[in-house]
């Protein structure tokens, strides 16, 4: 793996924003993910969203767990600090980071393995705590980095009507987030820039916990029995020529469809995923209705995309805790240390 600087090609989209910066100023290092990986599309959408909002590119705290998805914070916002922590525990690190400095924009990136399996407890509790951050799950329905084991979220192959049934019940993180109090809940598809970029922008500006479940296909592994492109299938059917390291190059999977419409997406494993974009007249302020809507659609084999729920008035963790406006990490001795005189009172209370 090498880190060669990206070639600076001229691009019509490199417009200058209000800070005098171009999209290039919001990029990170060169991605080492597989060509065509949905996660790269999500990173690109983050770059575009931050550039368009003209947010200062060094005022972010980027946190992640472990997985291909969790590597992505190094591929955007290279002028901000990032923290690739441990598997499934990004929410706690994000909580600490946000408590320490409430002024930074906090972006957490996780995977479906990271957040729905090993980290499901931490996921649930950061939702409850309402940390002011944007929480992205790059949901590919598999464990990419460990080469294609089943994950606990909806597997695309298993949700299509003609697919082989999943052995276990899937976990829907959207429904979980809605149920435990997230004040911004959305779903999108990595290759749908037209929808994803505005959602990321809205999520960043939302003052509270914003969750986006981004369906983000893994072009290398989709390890379920029905798939002719599954890891097991390739291993079993290609003899010694193809081993685990052979990843066929793949084009980025993109979609572009209108509100209210549905779109069938061909997934790398040969299955079809049906997305349903929320119509313009959908009311995103009714949490219970949103939950019902998502689950009904799922019954019918559709993944609803769009902003499912938002409560712009919800409080965040700092408001709940009543912490000072000054970032806690900026307080010094004068604000923090009560001094020797106060200690006399403390001593007296223990006599």
């Amino acid at each position: 793996m090498t880190f060669v600087a990206k070639p600076r090609t001229h691009h019509p989209l490199l417009q200058v924003n209000d800070l005098g910066l171009t999209r290039r100023d919001y990029e990170g290092s060169v991605s080492t993910l597989c060509a065509g990986c949905g996660h790269d599309s999500v990173s690109a959408a983050v770059v575009q969203a931050c550039a368009e909002l003209a947010l200062p590119p060094h005022k972010f705290a980027k946190v992640s767990g472990i997985g291909c998805s969790s590597k992505t914070p190094s591929y955007f916002l290279g002028n901000s600090h990032g923290f690739n922590s441990v598997h499934g525990r990004m929410p706690s690190v994000a909580t600490g980071a946000n408590l320490a400095n409430r002024e930074l924009y906090c972006i957490g990136v996780s995977g479906d393995g990271d957040s729905a399996s090993i980290g499901i407890g931490q996921f649930a509790h950061i939702v409850r705590r309402r940390i002011n951050m944007l929480y992205l799950v790059d949901n590919n329905g598999t464990y990419g980095l460990t080469k294609g084991q089943f994950s606990a979220t909806n597997d695309r192959g298993s949700t299509s009507k003609k697919g082989v049934p999943n052995l276990y019940e899937p976990i829907d993180m959207i429904s979980m987030a809605l149920q435990i109090g997230a004040s911004f809940v959305a779903r999108s598809f990595s290759g749908d820039k037209r929808q994803l970029v505005p959602l990321i922008k809205a999520g960043l500006l939302h003052e509270g916990f914003a969750f986006i479940d981004v369906i983000s296909p893994c072009v290398a592994f989709n390890n379920h029995n029905g798939s002719t492109k599954s890891y097991d299938y390739i291993r079993a059917h290609s003899g010694s020529v193809v081993d685990a390291d052979l990843i066929a190059p793949h084009d980025e999977i993109t979609v572009d469809y209108d509100p209210g419409a549905s779109e069938d997406v061909d997934m790398p494993d040969g299955s079809t995923l049906r997305l349903r974009k929320l119509a313009h007249d959908y009311n995103p302020h009714d949490r219970v209705a949103a939950l019902h809507y998502v689950q009904r659609a799922q019954e019918e084999g559709e993944f609803v995309t769009g902003l499912l729920y938002v409560d712009p008035t919800a409080s965040d963790c700092h408001e709940i805790l009543g912490t000072t406006q000054t970032p806690l990490n900026a307080l010094g001795e004068d604000e923090l240390c009560p001094g020797n005189a106060a200690l006399e009172g403390v001593n007296a209370s223990f006599r």
Binding site: R89, L99, A100, L328, N340, L343, V346
Partner: protein, 610 residues
């Protein structure tokens, strides 16, 4: 013969019966009379209905560690009556409710019976049965005030203070106390030959538990983020932090809080929050016990390798597993020192007194920032949860927090290339930057994966090795910075090493050993890795004992490993039964070694051996 201010009294109660406050008042009253006391709460992992004991060591000479043998037993629990009576020393006293006659099989000829018809006394006075149970405790408190000659005004004052705000409770409590007191004065020999009298031995000391002291220290040291998950015996540390922050850390004008406390979903999350906050420049800490440390290990390894400051208070209890969750032990040294996979090590601090808990509460935060690594403070249930006499706390107002090597925006302006893991100063500690500091410089990607000096990911062996070796250099720096051992050396042949709460009974054990002709130099270890003074002490003594409270001599393992010692050069003195180690245990094991090995003693008092 009358003895003053020198006894051990134990109260045997049922938990949930409201005895804790009466027993606490008893200890506090003696403390306010100026008499040194140490309290020990021996309680079950249960909320109601199981046996609990409260022990008070009263010692004019200031021996406040545990001593075997109970002089006065206040036996209020029928279920444990038999064992309670058995634990009284010959010539000691049994205070009991003689409303019913004592069963003959409970009788002992060699102790004194002090019967008080407690149930009968409260029955006509307090119609409500629930109150009756509570007031029984107050009745024996009143009787003890007469039997032991406790200053009655002091106890009365305490009752009034205790029920301040619930004033309607003051009169009935004082009435209950007077019931017991007048009964004792009328029908019993008062005061007993074992009694108390005013003293000035307490001086200006305070009485506080180690957990509260640590919490106050953390406030003074500038901790702003505390994340924790409830577990005995550490819970009261986080709770004390909350309680004292509410008084000491609220903006007087806006009411805004200069702290954030999260009761996390588990210890993994608690440590993750601490590390996230530390990464982002806030001083943060957590408190837990052995099982929590086990859960935190992956994160501790991350913080070691990614070099993030964090403070962890381990209030140790008896393991392994759930072990004896409400009993004390020094059993987590090895699991804490090397918590996590790979070549990982963490500096440890060993407080012995509440005063030291207060100091380490602040010092650990400085050390974590200075070394950019987790610091684990090894307290235990004995120190953390019991009220102990302590020197009062003081703070040097000119002290500035040592935030370690953190580059500001101006610093970065002058830096050509920021390299997070470059050893600029030769002490193994690089310079770090906080998120959001500078628009163009200083940002880097923190990870648990290997990287080069510029924080760029690499798996090149030479980069990995260089980094691991630099961490060893940092370890050598830590050796200089952790608290120095406290040494009493008089050029003797033999010495004893100890740490943490093993210090409490040490003076008494040493005095008794001296009477038997065994004189020892002493070293109280306060930090790991060990400084030069530790090696020097070890090198200059022919016979070395090491007293600690675990089965496997864990501190010995650390010493043998860290200083490359011959394991046979240290003789373990061990106790791991769940109570704190007693003076008797230390005295006996050291003496046995002398006798067993025919070692010469000063006065050759061989007949003492037992």
């Amino acid at each position: 013969m009358t003895t003053y201010n020198d006894f051990v009294i134990r109260f045997a109660n049922v938990n949930g019966s409201g005895s804790a406050s009466a027993n606490g008042m008893f200890a506090k009253a003696l403390f306010r009379m100026g008499i040194p006391v140490a309290t020990r709460n021996i309680f079950p992992s249960n909320i109601e209905g199981l046996p609990t004991w409260f022990e008070v060591r009263v010692s004019e000479r200031g021996y406040l560690g545990r001593r075997e043998g109970i002089d006065i037993m206040v036996a209020m629990n029928a279920e444990t009556f038999e064992e309670d009576i058995a634990s009284i020393v010959p010539g000691g006293y049994l205070v009991y409710d003689n409303s019913k006659e004592l069963r003959p099989n409970f009788r002992r000829d060699d102790i004194n019976l002090v019967g008080i018809p407690i149930s009968q006394l409260v029955l006509p006075e307090f119609p409500n049965p629930k109150h009756r149970a509570l007031f029984k405790n107050i009745v024996y408190l009143g009787a003890l005030s007469a039997l032991l000659n406790i200053d009655f005004d002091i106890i009365k004052g305490m009752v009034s203070a205790q029920f301040k705000g619930k004033d309607e409770l003051i009169a009935p409590n004082i009435h209950a106390m007077e019931l017991g007191r007048s009964y004792a004065r009328e029908y019993l020999e008062c005061p007993l030959p074992i009694q108390v009298r005013h003293s000035d031995a307490v001086g200006d000391r305070i009485m506080i538990d180690g957990n509260a002291a640590a919490a106050i220290g953390a406030i003074y040291g500038g901790a702003t983020v505390c994340a924790w998950y409830p577990i005995t015996p550490s819970t009261s540390l986080a709770e004390a932090f909350e309680q004292h922050c509410a008084r000491l850390r609220v903006d007087p004008e806006t009411g805004e809080r200069r702290y954030a406390i999260i009761q996390a979903e588990d210890e993994l999350a608690a440590m993750g929050i601490v590390i996230g906050a530390g990464w982002n420049g806030a001083r943060s800490f957590t408190a837990t016990s052995g099982p929590g440390v086990s859960l935190m290990t992956e994160f501790l390894g991350l913080a070691y390798f990614a070099e993030i400051p964090a403070v962890l208070w381990d209030i140790q209890r008896a393991g392994p597993s759930t072990g004896m969750p409400t009993r004390t032990q020094q059993g987590d040294l090895v699991s804490s020192a090397f918590a996590s996979h790979g070549d990982t090590r963490h500096p440890l601090m060993f407080p012995s007194t509440p005063r030291e808990c207060f100091e380490f509460g602040a010092d650990a935060l400085d050390l974590a920032d200075r070394l950019q690594t987790p610091i684990i403070v090894m307290s235990d249930l004995e120190l953390g949860m019991n009220d102990n006499l302590s020197e009062p706390f003081t703070w040097d107002d000119s002290r500035r927090y040592d935030r370690g090597k953190v580059l500001t925006e101006e610093d970065l302006d002058d830096v050509e290339r920021f390299s997070r893991y470059l050893d600029v100063d030769g002490d193994g500690v690089g310079y770090r930057t906080l998120p959001g500091t500078h628009a163009e410089k200083g940002a880097f990607f923190t990870r648990g994966t290997s990287r080069d000096e510029h924080a760029t990911y690499t798996e090149q062996p030479e980069h990995y090795i260089k980094n691991m070796d630099r961490l060893l250099l940092k370890w050598a720096t830590a050796r200089q910075l952790v608290p120095k051992a406290e040494i009493e050396a008089h050029g003797r042949r033999a010495g004893i090493l100890y740490y943490g709460t093993t210090a409490a009974p040490m003076q008494e054990a040493l005095d008794r050993l001296a009477e038997d002709g065994v004189q020892l130099d002493t070293m109280r270890i306060r930090g790991f890795p060990f400084g030069n003074e530790v090696r020097e002490f070890i090198d200059s003594h022919e016979i070395l004992f090491l007293a600690e409270q675990n089965r496997d001599a864990q501190m010995k393992s650390l010493l043998v490993n860290d200083l490359e010692l011959d394991p046979a050069s240290i003789i373990p003195v061990l106790y791991y039964g769940g109570f704190s180690i007693s003076a008797d245990t230390i005295h006996q094991q050291v003496l046995d070694y002398y006798v067993g090995n025919n070692l010469p003693r000063l006065d050759e008092v061989w007949e003492v051996s037992s």
